[in-house]
Symmetry: C2
């Protein structure tokens, strides 16, 4: 992969104009990719959703949500959000449109919810509300992680709807100091949760009939889920999570399965395991793929657009420390090839726009929305 800076502007333009009109081109195996900045001035953007009119909805970890106009400008923050505890990794996380957004105008978002005003005891919570005139209305909290915890780490926070819109998956984390809770079923800590969009529990969730287990749980043994998406060809959920130090994972979380944390990991070894190294254990799932050393995996998406035909069905996974998009070719439930696109910036999330372009969020105080398109 080679990086080429290509000026799209005329030489007579001013230096300032040049800076924003330049596109970098990344050469990859199957496509040369232009990287353009389409919006900037965002405070650690975390989640991105496309409205149906060319505008985008972006969350900022600092607790604000903004609409970005088609020309990249953005104004006042959206009003009507609940109290959000902004602390360390905590704040406002992901946002998704309702599967019926065109009729119900609902948006769903996740955030760090304090026990009481100003408290540092928090849950990862999910709320929904109607978006109208840059304001949220009829706010309803549909999920709140039990129990609330101290500390400001490993909130998870990604949201993904199933293809039919019947289910909402919520990726959670172990809250940093509650590692062992990822293996117990009486807490949401370290779990992947599945609910209906109204917050009710699906009857076929794996632990609805198990005494002492929380019925929202879908899968367990997760350290800190940071990206999720539905595979277009199968409808299956896939997810990425942070490893401890190395061992970032791609998993295909299935109902009632155990993804191993903190018993097995490909990061710095933690104990347990069959071969004395802590990689494997019976009844625990190995990751489909792992990044060791860690790229600090953040968002992920299945590419399903028309701009990059050779990438159809590939997983695109972003890295913070790794400053990259990892492109993974998938066969069945397995990765058969990885190519890395070096972006040179911490990337928080990746989404595919309605026209098939790829959008990235950079994780900075002056965060950007980048757009990847095929180079001419």
């Amino acid at each position: 992969m080679k990086l080429v800076t290509r000026s799209l502007a005329l030489a007579s333009l001013s230096a300032l104009t040049l800076a924003t009109a330049q596109a970098e081109t990344i050469e990859t195996r199957w496509a040369d990719v232009d990287v353009e900045t389409v919006a900037e001035g965002l405070n650690h953007p975390w989640g991105l959703a496309f409205l149906n009119d060319g505008r985008m909805l972006v969350t900022e970890r600092a607790g604000t949500m903004r609409i970005i106009e088609a020309d990249g400008t953005h104004g006042e923050a959206i009003s009507g959000l609940p109290e959000i505890k902004v602390m360390r990794q905590g704040g406002l996380f992901d946002v998704k449109l309702s599967p019926n957004y065109s009729s119900d105008s609902l948006i769903y978002f996740s955030y760090s919810e304090p026990e009481s005003e100003g408290s540092e005891i928090t849950s990862t919570a999910v709320a929904r509300a109607r978006l109208e005139d840059n304001a949220l209305h009829d706010l309803e909290v549909i999920f709140s992680q039990y129990p609330k915890e101290e500390g400001g780490r490993h909130y998870g926070g990604r949201l993904t709807f199933s293809d039919d819109g019947e289910y909402l998956f919520i990726g959670l984390g172990d809250r940093g100091h509650r590692q062992d809770d990822a293996q117990t079923l009486d807490k949401h800590t370290g779990k992947l949760v599945r609910i209906h969009p109204d917050g009710s529990v699906p009857e076929d969730n794996p632990y609805v009939n198990e005494e002492g287990a929380l019925e929202e749980i879908w899968s367990y043994g997760h350290r800190n889920i940071q990206g999720m998406d539905i595979q277009p060809s199968t409808g299956h959920l896939w997810a990425v999570e942070h490893g401890p130090q190395g061992g970032d994972e791609l998993n295909r979380p299935q109902s009632g399965h155990n993804y191993g944390w903190p018993v097995i990991t490909h990061g710095e070894q933690y104990g347990g395991g069959e071969v004395g190294i802590g990689f494997k254990k019976d009844d625990m799932e190995l990751p489909v793929w792992h990044w060791t050393p860690s790229i600090a995996v953040s968002g992920m998406v299945f590419y399903d657009g028309n701009q990059f035909p050779a990438w159809q069905g590939n997983v695109l996974a972003t890295g913070l420390r790794g400053q990259q998009v990892a492109r993974l070719e998938i066969d069945g439930d397995h990765v058969i090839h990885q190519e890395t696109l070096e972006l040179g910036q911490r990337i928080r999330q990746v989404q595919v726009g309605p026209e098939g372009y790829i959008y990235l969020l950079t994780d900075n105080a002056d965060g950007k929305v980048l757009r990847l398109s095929p180079a001419e």
Copy 2:
């Protein structure tokens, strides 16, 4: 991965001594690895086998086979080899000891066999002979690729015995200009072959009862098999082969399966295929893993020694152009992680010695045997 040159010698030694006493250290995730030269002065070494007394048997593509003493020295070439046509990629290829070597003293080797003396029409052939006093005795050709072909490319040539010693697998190639023959069963071109060590055909080979098909064939659709080994935990055969330009492959060849060449490939597209790109087709196997761009994959082995406990069961695959060992972590039939060890030299083959160290052959006119051991 970082490369550190570490002097093992005292500063007072001469420059010449220093050059051979130095070990490079490669830092990897799970082990720091010393790289030492244990033999040199070999002419494009291709195959390596360990005798039971600390000595090694090495083939040179130029048509010679030598015994390397425990101290790295080597003398006269072994006498008694058949006529070998040395031309372009052709010459002497792999060597393996008989599964019963301690009682029968037989070695098996593969080479470019001319139609008649000096002819450039050749087969990839396999012979066996008793090794005694630096000479081969009772030479017997047990396999010869049908038909003999012109040209000096894509001979394949790797040999691997099954765990029980009942079967000998022979990896072949499409001979460069005979691509389409990889899909027809009436020729050995582009096939993986399975025979008994005496050259007879196993009764359960997939095409023994199929009219017009060659009964030695195990699997087909291979471009140029360059490495093979048996997976210790399963007894399954795995193999690597060169792609056209990109798309080097790791496969797990099964009886009667089609590995796609030249219809599908992850290298430069060749036509056919479901998505208009030529990656997939019904009834053709996708590779377990592919390297795109190509590393010019050469040898492979499953690591099963005690010197690198964290690498147990990993595939080590070597690259010529890639100048590397790719370490692949395997779960079931799938790769879940790749780490690359940069060697800075074209590597032809990798084998695990009886003490668990890793031995590499460098592909040069002044070729070397390198040994990888854990750094102190």
